[in-house]
């Protein structure tokens, strides 16, 4: 099978929008960390973005179909790495999420597992030929995502574990989900949320998680805890008004971690409704462009890969911006492309590299 691959088919427009979002993120990181001990983080973020773009190009060159053929090995490797975290991981703030790597860098396997899961789910559903998803396949797909998810939950890292859910849901939905299965997913989601909200003594959740969720229901219950964070975030966003304000919430350090989880709040405070809506629009354009790429993918697997990235990106935006405007509890999920942090940036660009990979092979016969 001859393959013609060219960077002429690379989605340069998508890259422009993505880099625009990154640039806005970097300026906001600079503004939010000025005069704090994190000052200079925006420079580091620039390096991360540059490295991410490089990795994206590398990723786009590796044929995703080759990756998919060997995906079961990657899947096993990801389970092993998650197990390693649970056993050897560095404990930090009560959670075991990182493996210390030589060169003093901390490696968080749960991020790259996300990527493997996108590919695994894509491979699994691409191989199914049925119009309708059978129940055994439904359960198998659920287990494929569920096992690593439980392992991440055990770290404990509720936020990252939750980001695995949309991968499975998107796969099931596009893989021919029956309406009963859809109902079951809705039911499970309702049960999960209900358990968290109404049974405060659920032992699955760590106390900080319960606190994060309960304080979401009534922020005044825990003014100094995560309820305080949501409240400060709402104040930051609200005081931004239509055109943006002086940013006392961000610069007075009332807004917690304004360079990572709450970067959108910091941005909204300084640039107002107009600026925040502009950023949302950029994200929307990126997502629409991605789905367009999914539609033109050369095969089922390609569509599933791209839509898996869409699912993860959409979910991150929903949960992060939802938290910033007070619709969602504090889960510690960053805003992709804008939030400061190497793992998050590298994951996004690797995922985009995979999308490019799919796109560049769209005319291959």
């Amino acid at each position: 099978m001859s393959r013609y691959v060219s960077f002429r088919d690379f989605d340069w427009l998508l890259l422009v929008f993505v880099l625009l979002i990154c640039a806005l993120g970097i300026t906001e990181i600079r503004s939010a960390t000025m005069h704090t001990k994190f000052a200079g983080a925006h420079i580091k973020q620039m390096y991360w973005v540059a490295a991410g773009v490089g990795m994206m190009f590398v990723m786009s060159l590796v044929n995703y179909q080759v990756l998919l053929d060997r995906i079961h090995w990657f899947y096993i490797a990801s389970l092993v790495s998650l197990m390693a975290v649970l056993i050897f991981g560095q404990k930090y703030l009560g959670a075991r999420r990182w493996i210390k790597m030589p060169g003093a860098n901390h490696f968080q396997p749960s991020e790259w597992v996300k990527l493997i899961l996108i590919l695994s789910v894509a491979k699994y559903f691409a191989d199914l030929r049925h119009q309708e998803l059978s129940w055994p396949d439904f359960v198998k797909a659920g287990a494929m995502v569920g096992v690593p998810m439980l392992m991440v939950l055990a770290q404990p890292d509720l936020g990252t574990a939750l980001t695995y859910v949309p991968i499975a849901v998107m796969g099931v939905f596009l893989g021919g989900m029956q309406w009963k299965q859809g109902l079951l997913i809705v039911l499970l989601a309702t049960l999960g949320i209900g358990a968290v909200f109404f049974i405060p003594r659920v032992h699955v959740l760590k106390s900080y998680q319960k606190q994060r969720l309960t304080s979401f229901i009534d922020p005044t219950l825990d003014p100094q805890g995560s309820g305080y964070q949501v409240e400060q975030s709402k104040i930051a966003v609200g005081s931004g008004g239509l055109w943006g304000g002086k940013g006392s919430q961000t610069h007075g350090a009332f807004l917690p971690v304004p360079q990572t989880d709450f970067i959108f709040a910091a941005f909204s405070e300084e640039h107002g409704f107009v600026g925040a809506l502009g950023v949302l629009l950029l994200y929307f354009i990126v997502l629409m462009r991605l789905t367009q790429n999914a539609q033109t993918a050369p095969d089922r697997a390609g569509t599933f890969v791209v839509m898996g990235v869409v699912a993860v990106l959409s979910f991150h935006i929903l949960v992060n911006v939802g938290m910033v405007v007070g619709f969602m509890p504090v889960t510690g999920i960053p805003l992709p492309l804008m939030s400061y942090g190497g793992s998050s940036v590298l994951f996004m660009f690797l995922a985009l590299g995979m999308v490019m990979n799919v796109r560049m092979r769209r005319f291959v016969n």
Binding site: Q65, A126, R129, M170, F173, L174, G176, P223, Q224, G225, Y228, Q232, K234, I235, A236, V237, G238, S239, G240, G241, L242, G245, S248, Q249, H251, G252, A253, F254, P256, S268, G272, F273, A276, L277, L280, Y283, F284, L287, M288, T291, A294, Q295, D299, R300, T303, F304, M307, V310, S314, I317, L318, V321, G322, V325, G326, F327
Partner: protein, 656 residues
């Protein structure tokens, strides 16, 4: 590989796009709601976040004595504050904070909880009057514990060793109970208010008004700018009618004893000295008092927190005989009453002993004068029998028994003056005539406070002028502050001048060689008074007791004295708990009177202020009313006098 015909359902991809669109619309609505619809609310919240109100504590007003000498002062002291608008987890830091400030971590957490309802920008007072090493701890932990801050406050500096403690009272943090009461509704938790004494009575004028500084801060509570400042309004100073010199004399006279001393100017009602023993140290209350310390004070059977001068309700014993004499003479019975004291008498079928019987003696023939200076019980039993309880109650009530004197100190008690009506009201029982006999010598159901006795004696010796006692002069108070009391400032009870002379002369004989307080006579001072030894348990009960039990219930000694005997300048009531006999209390009162007189004699005269009218106190001998016997007379007069002569007058010894 699958071909193009096996592509993923296009409809589902479109549905996914619409779901994403829906998500973005919801998020956009979220932004719209906060940034456009509620922008003003959140802008004001952001302002509040940014601004911290730091209280500038107003110093309480100082307290002075009648001559302007300072009694209660303030000193600068540092308090530890907990700022809650920092993003630190206060409960997590509570242990470190508690350790550094030597507090109980649970108490710290309890305070954080208690103040949860207060606005965030208001700091919590953690510990007052911190030591230098605690101050150093806070300074050293500025980075680890940014929520800890200090504030300088003026704190009360009280006299040492409980001097004047009961009159002054003490201050403390306003309690939750108090905040629920209407008169404290303007206060907020953490405010320091007067809890007892004048600190409480005149709290509103002493307290002042806290100022505030609006600081621009960041979330770590670090001040980055100043927006505005309202100055604190210091509390107004309070001048008492008490005289430090006399107070010292009274404190020393009662030293080592339990009881109370009140010295009052019966002409005005000004309290010159007031002591209650045992005392407490108000300084220990000026900072938060520990629970142990408090429990110890409350459970002490000698009641150190009680101001016995106005709060001890005890049988007045024989001092009540002066009120009996007034009633008896005014009712026209006592003048001609002659009783033969054989050491006791039978009244209403029961035998009542005279105190002299314990010495295996009798008083023999007794009239009203001897009845007073020898304190003959039989005479007063007989008088009481003839008067009946209601006539006794009428005069005693007129002289202020069984009711508050209206002194401007909190928590004064009523005392009890029994009558037929009182007994029916209180016990739904008829009055037994036999009870009158006990009341006649100040025993039984009757109970009085030292201030009531001082006031009544002052009135009798002043010819019937009953004044309301007070520790501050209304003229010394700022406008708006009034001594709220429903007791009139002055009432005149008509007492016949002849009766007045009989009583006051008999009182003077109490401290003469024939009287019950002969040893308390002071040469050159015209003191008059009456002793009292009041049983704390009834004779019947006492007879059943063992010797050791008996020693536990010793009699209370009373003495109420005036100087000079008629129109006195000072009346002193001394209560010496378990003092066995009134003559002991008389020593206490005599020391106070002596201190008063000696001070007056040293002082330059106060005459000049009366527009050339000189006030002269004098002692002289003159024929008695029946014109036969020369008797010592005393009194004081207002004399018109040219200013030049005043200096000469001062020089005369014995006259002020």
């Amino acid at each position: 590989m699958f071909g193009r015909d096996e592509k993923v359902s296009a409809i589902r991809l479109t549905v996914a796009q619409y779901i994403i669109l829906a998500i973005f619309l919801i998020l956009a609505y979220g932004l719209w709601r906060l940034q456009v619809m509620q922008s003003d609310l959140y802008s004001s919240l952001a302002e509040k976040n940014r601004i911290r109100n730091v209280p500038i504590l107003a110093p309480r007003g100082k307290i002075f004595d009648r001559e302007g000498r300072i009694i209660v002062d303030n000193y600068p002291s540092f308090s530890a504050l907990l700022l809650r608008d920092s993003s630190h987890d206060l409960n997590a830091d509570a242990d470190l904070i508690a350790e550094g400030l030597h507090l109980d971590p649970n108490e710290v957490r309890a305070r954080i909880r208690r103040f949860a309802s207060m606005p965030q920008y208001q700091p919590i007072f953690l510990k007052e009057d911190i030591t230098p090493d605690e101050l150093a701890f806070i300074d050293a932990h500025r980075n680890e514990l940014p929520e800890l801050d200090t504030i300088m406050a003026h704190r009360r500096l009280y006299p040492r060793n409980g001097f004047m403690a009961h009159v002054i009272g003490y201050v403390g943090e306003v309690t939750e109970d108090m905040l629920n009461q209407p008169q404290f509704e303007l206060y907020s938790p953490g405010d320091v208010v007067g809890i007892s004494g004048v600190e409480r009575q005149y709290n509103t004028m002493l307290m002042g008004k806290n100022g505030a500084r609006q600081e621009v801060v960041n979330s770590h509570g670090r001040t980055v700018g100043l927006l505005g400042e309202t100055d604190a309004v210091p509390g107004k100073q309070l001048k008492l009618t008490l005289d430090i010199d006399l107070q010292i004399a009274a404190e020393e006279a009662l030293d080592g004893k339990n009881g109370a001393v009140v010295a009052m100017d019966p002409r005005t009602g000004e309290i010159l000295a007031m002591v209650s023993r045992p005392a407490f140290d108000p300084q220990s209350f000026s900072v938060r008092v520990s629970r142990d310390q408090w429990n110890k004070l409350v459970s002490d059977e000698n009641h150190p927190l009680l101001n016995k001068a106005i709060q001890a309700q005890l049988a007045p014993g024989s001092t009540f005989k002066i009120i009996m004499a007034t009633a008896g003479l005014q009712e026209g019975i006592a003048q001609d009453l002659h009783v033969n004291c054989t050491g006791g008498g039978t009244f209403y079928g029961r035998y009542f002993k005279c105190w002299i019987a314990a010495r295996h003696q009798t008083h023999g023939a007794v009239d009203i004068v001897k009845g007073i200076y020898q304190s003959c019980d039989v005479f007063f039993y007989t008088l009481g029998e003839k008067l009946g309880i209601d006539r006794i109650a009428k005069w005693a009530t007129a002289l202020g028994m069984g009711q508050k004197t209206g002194i401007d100190l909190p928590q004064e008690v009523n005392g009890v003056m029994p009558s037929e009506e009182w007994k029916i009201k209180k016990f739904k029982q008829k009055w037994f005539a036999g009870e009158t006999i006990s009341v006649s010598i100040g025993q039984g159901a009757i109970a009085a406070t030292p201030i009531q006795m001082a006031r009544a004696f002052g009135a009798i010796a002043s010819g019937g002028r009953l004044v309301r006692p007070h520790v501050t002069n209304p003229t010394d108070l700022p406008p708006g502050v009034i001594q709220a009391s429903n007791v009139p400032d002055e009432v005149t009870i008509p007492i016949d001048p002849r009766n007045w002379e009989i009583i006051t002369d008999a009182m003077a004989q109490v401290v003469s060689p024939v009287g019950t307080a002969a040893a308390s006579a002071i040469k050159g001072i015209d003191m008059a008074g009456k002793t009292g030894s009041a049983q704390t348990v009834s004779n019947m009960l006492k007879s059943k007791m063992s010797a050791s039990e008996k020693s536990k219930y010793k009699d209370n000694g009373w003495f109420v004295g005036v100087e000079p005997r008629r129109n006195p300048e000072i009346v002193v009531c001394a209560l010496f708990e378990e003092g066995e006999h009134g003559s002991e209390a008389a020593h206490v009162a005599a020391k106070v009177i002596q201190a008063y007189v000696e001070k007056q004699r040293r002082l330059p005269t106060k005459m000049a202020k009366n527009n050339g009218k000189a006030e002269i106190g004098a002692v002289w001998t003159a024929p008695d009313t029946d014109g036969e016997e020369q008797r010592l007379q005393a009194g004081h007069f207002f004399v018109d006098m040219p200013k030049e002569s005043i200096a000469a007058l001062v020089a005369a010894p014995g006259i002020r």
